[in-house]
């Protein structure tokens, strides 16, 4: 079983990202489970969402304390939340930032992957909403969900022109991270 924790701020689509990973994992013929760290929704406040993907039915329902992968949608969270808490040493943390990873001073032995998702979002979507771009980066960096399934899951959620733009953004993020 692989466990994923997503950090973001209210309004950045962290819960949606978790749901899309669960749908994509299912498309890959695996079992999946996604849920938010249920809070009173407030725009801008730190939020978390969780995903599990496994080859067997998933029974455990506690929150995720030792993730294999962490996604951070907003680099300013590093000042207020220990985003790498409990991250497995052989895991990966993917952060949306324009800063080089050495400057992030993350307390983790895990591999740090950075991507300037906000820049890609502004170029392709015209809005600083990065959740689908982080999904592309997740596919590229971890291989835990196939790009085809991720595209299918995103297309199910976002239709028409918005869906096409999101697929382009995912492809861009996937390629940047895969070639890094």
């Amino acid at each position: 079983m692989k466990e994923i924790r997503i950090h973001g701020r209210g309004g950045q689509g962290s819960v949606t990202a978790a749901e899309i990973i669960a749908v994509a994992g299912f498309e890959d013929k695996k079992y999946s489970q996604a849920f938010p760290a249920f809070g009173v929704e407030r725009r801008g406040a730190p939020v978390m969402a969780f995903v599990r993907i496994a080859d067997q039915p998933i029974r455990v329902r506690s929150q995720i304390y030792n993730p294999d992968y962490v996604l951070v949608q907003d680099v300013t969270l590093l000042d207020v939340v220990d985003v790498a808490a409990g991250l497995k040493p052989d895991g990966k943390i993917i952060i949306n930032t324009d800063r080089p990873k050495e400057k992030l001073k993350l307390k983790t032995e895990a591999q740090v992957v950075t991507i300037d998702a906000t820049k890609i979002a502004m170029e392709i979507l015209g809005r600083p909403i990065v959740n689908t771009i982080m999904l592309g980066a997740f596919c590229g960096a971890t291989g835990q969900v196939s790009l085809e399934s991720m595209n299918a899951a995103v297309s199910e959620r976002f239709k028409g022109e918005l869906g096409r733009k999101n697929l382009a953004a995912i492809k861009e993020a996937y390629e940047r991270v895969s070639h890094a």
Partner: protein
């Protein structure tokens, strides 16, 4: 069709397949998505039901008293303070023998204000005459919905049913579920045809005054119907299996009880986490099993005695507390043993109150205490994950 959807949407789909005539509900977190989805289905013409919007939960269930008396299959859903606001009507519905089904998206009772999950709301309503069934996962909550109608509408039962599912943990999770097939549900659940309905052409009185010469007998008949439900719950679960292929046990289910030294008894969505924790405990040589209570009312006294007769000690984990005593399931289980001569130590834990996460570590701690209790309980009742440092 198998799909990953939100728990609340899955429940709305299951309710739709039961062809309710009338739905009346007042939105309240974390039940809201269930009734929003149903309201949308009605508005889209997907579901041929009338959705009565109301000013409160009291009105929601009161409206269903009227519709059920007319012979309409009636549905509602609520949680927490909403269920509390229905309290007076809960007794009216069960006393009038109305087979209403209601999904309770379990949530803590305020104050302090808290929107998160525990089971204080429905456990606190255990004496209201409703049947209470508890689901472990979204699929079970879905599958219980047509089973609940079949049970409630059985002429020998005619008792309302609460299908209890943990708020947020099950209502807001995305996980794979098998959707119910509408035609198959139609075969499984025949149309609701009560013998007596309100009909201007054939006037009757429903809800007449009962003086001391008859009131006791009305209560006895309710008790008798719940006793009969003890048998029907498993029969219906097996009929469901024949049609849909899924079965979760009848009144109770067990896990790793074969050769277990101690047992954990619980209800609701924490069961999945417990199963994973028990696998780890067995790998460490600690033989702790699980008894899952599916039906809390009627309380499955005999099934629990039989399933627990071979263990040396028992821990109950539940998400409620009877402030001033212990907690509902703990007390009920002890009472079930008393006249049998079974002297197995039973210890109770309240956990997961107001959304406090229950981890594998917490379960293993309770399991260790259960094993140790074979030598006599250290404490009768404990708060399992108490943060002593902030008291």
């Amino acid at each position: 069709m198998r799909k990953v959807v939100e728990g609340s949407y899955a429940i709305a789909q299951a309710v739709k397949c039961c062809d309710p005539d009338i739905i009346s509900a007042y939105p309240i977190t974390p039940q809201t998505h269930i009734v929003e989805n149903l309201s949308q289905m009605v508005a889209d013409g997907e579901l041929k039901a009338e959705f009565i919007t109301v000013d409160s939960e009291f009105s929601a269930l009161s409206a269903l008293v009227g519709s059920s008396a007319m012979g309409a299959r009636s549905y509602s859903s609520t949680t927490s303070q909403g269920l509390a606001l229905m309290y007076e009507v809960l007794y009216n519905v069960s006393g009038l023998r109305m087979p209403i089904v209601m999904t309770v998206a379990n949530r803590a009772m305020g104050a302090p204000l808290n929107i998160w999950n525990d089971q204080q709301d429905s456990i606190g309503a255990r004496d209201c005459g409703w049947i209470q069934l508890y689901a472990e996962n979204v699929q079970e909550a879905m599958d219980l919905t047509p089973q609940a109608y079949k049970l409630a509408e059985d002429p020998d039962i005619l008792t309302p049913v609460m299908v209890c599912m943990d708020g947020f943990i099950l209502t807001h999770v995305y996980e794979p579920v098998e959707f119910l097939d509408h035609d198959k549900v139609k075969q499984f659940l025949p149309p609701f045809k009560p013998k007596i309905t309100l009909d201007p052409a054939h006037p009757v009185t429903i809800g007449a005054f009962a003086d001391p010469s008859t009131f006791t007998e009305y209560r006895y008949l309710q008790q008798d119907a719940q006793n009969k439900a003890l048998g029907k719950i498993d029969t219906i679960a097996k009929e469901f299996k024949e049609t849909f292929g899924r079965y979760y046990g009848g009144l109770i289910d067990t896990y790793r009880m074969e050769g277990a030294d101690a047992a954990i008894v619980t209800l609701g969505s924490v069961i999945g986490t417990i199963k994973d924790a028990l696998d780890e405990m067995w790998a460490e040589g600690k033989k702790v099993g699980l008894v899952k209570v599916r039906s809390y009312r009627p309380f499955p006294v005999k099934a629990l005695r039989d399933s627990l007769k071979d263990v040396s000690s028992i821990a109950v984990i539940e998400k409620d507390v009877s402030i001033g005593n212990e907690a509902g399931l703990t007390t009920d289980l002890k009472a079930a043993f008393y006249n049998t001569g079974m002297k197995t130590p039973i210890i109770g834990f309240t956990a997961g109150l107001g959304g406090r996460d229950i981890t594998l570590k917490d379960i293993k701690k309770a399991g260790d205490k259960a094993l140790a209790a074979a030598k006599g309980p250290e404490a009768e009742f404990e708060f399992l994950t108490l943060r002593k440092e902030i008291l």
